[in-house]
Amino acid sequence: MLAVTEASPEGRREIPGTPVFDGEAAQRGLALNAMCYSFNSAENRAAFTADEEAYMAKFGLSQEQREAVRQRDVLGMIAAGGNVYYLAKLGGILGLNVQDLGALQTGMPLEDFKAALLAHGTTERSVAA
């Protein structure tokens, strides 16, 4: 499908089920995303694992962000301004890959989430003579 939704009269574009990480989200999510960005360092990952609460406090996460992290609530983290590229680094610590994150966000069992992707299964190949 190549049709797209229209912006509202106020100019706001809502794409169903699709967070758009804009300036408003980037401001709201800065502390959470900064914490996740720090997880590029193995030392920081270990520090988070050793004491999650202290680590979240060090980065000044909001109460909403801390609660979403405590609950492993991915949609909650995104609602609190998290960006999935940074959240994926937290996911790595928690043993959650992007398919696990997808299952958690859609509410589908992991196997169903994977099956839905496989239902698109196709390989289309062309090589010029």
Partner: protein
Amino acid sequence: MSQVIGGIFTSHVPGIGAAIAKGLQQEPYWKPFFDGFGPVHEFLEREKPDVAVVFYNDHGLNFFLDKMPTFAIGAAPEYRHEDEGWGISGFKPFAGHPALSWHIIEQVVKDEFDPVTCQAMKVDHGVAVPFELCWPDTDAWPVKLVPICINTVQHPLPSPKRCYALGRSVGRALESWQSDEKIVVLGTGGMSHQLDGQRAGYINPEYDRFCLESIVSDPEAMTRHSTLDIVELAGSQGVEIINWIAARGALRGTVRELAHNYHVPISNTAAATVLVENREPVAA
């Protein structure tokens, strides 16, 4: 004069890097994707490019939200891949090409773009995975790298039209580069995929097929969508296709498709590889 030999467009899913590290290329899940690289390997073996100019996006290795450039051009003597936080690391270092980087920077600024210039820059899987796919089993990468990073993280993203125009400007720079070096252009990321929100797992083969056709024969058709249109059509990370649009802009000669491979799914992604050659237009 340098020669822009062609373009390679490919997905850069991190899981591909993990599959390579584990040697899973011939496993049934992965084989249909990796097999798409046969024509790419033959092309690179035949043409032996000296330089790869790579349009990609950073996913939070080099750039964070404290300083988020819309366009960033690497001008470093060397680039490294480092720990991205969740597993893959240890890709070989990349030799840079500062003289060509600065030549490109001069041209694009003259053309009224305003890039961030980086004499130190880490490159993530958006560069490393495509390099590993193009040049597997090598002790050192056989090409020098000029990385051009496009913001696909924080909206507003640059428009597809602007990305295409940036690519055209880079293409002008490559054509005027006084060297006998052969240059290949890469555009990485895509195709349709979405990692976040209730629509996570979204795939749109119809839009992907539109892109597979347009990227070869009518790239400007892809610029008629806004970035938010593409977010809707391709998913919130499928918008990485703007890297392809920029890369295609840099191919200003006669472009012909040599091969393409579209395979769904790799992880949450519709994966694809497109190989095109670029030849100077022949006067009739």
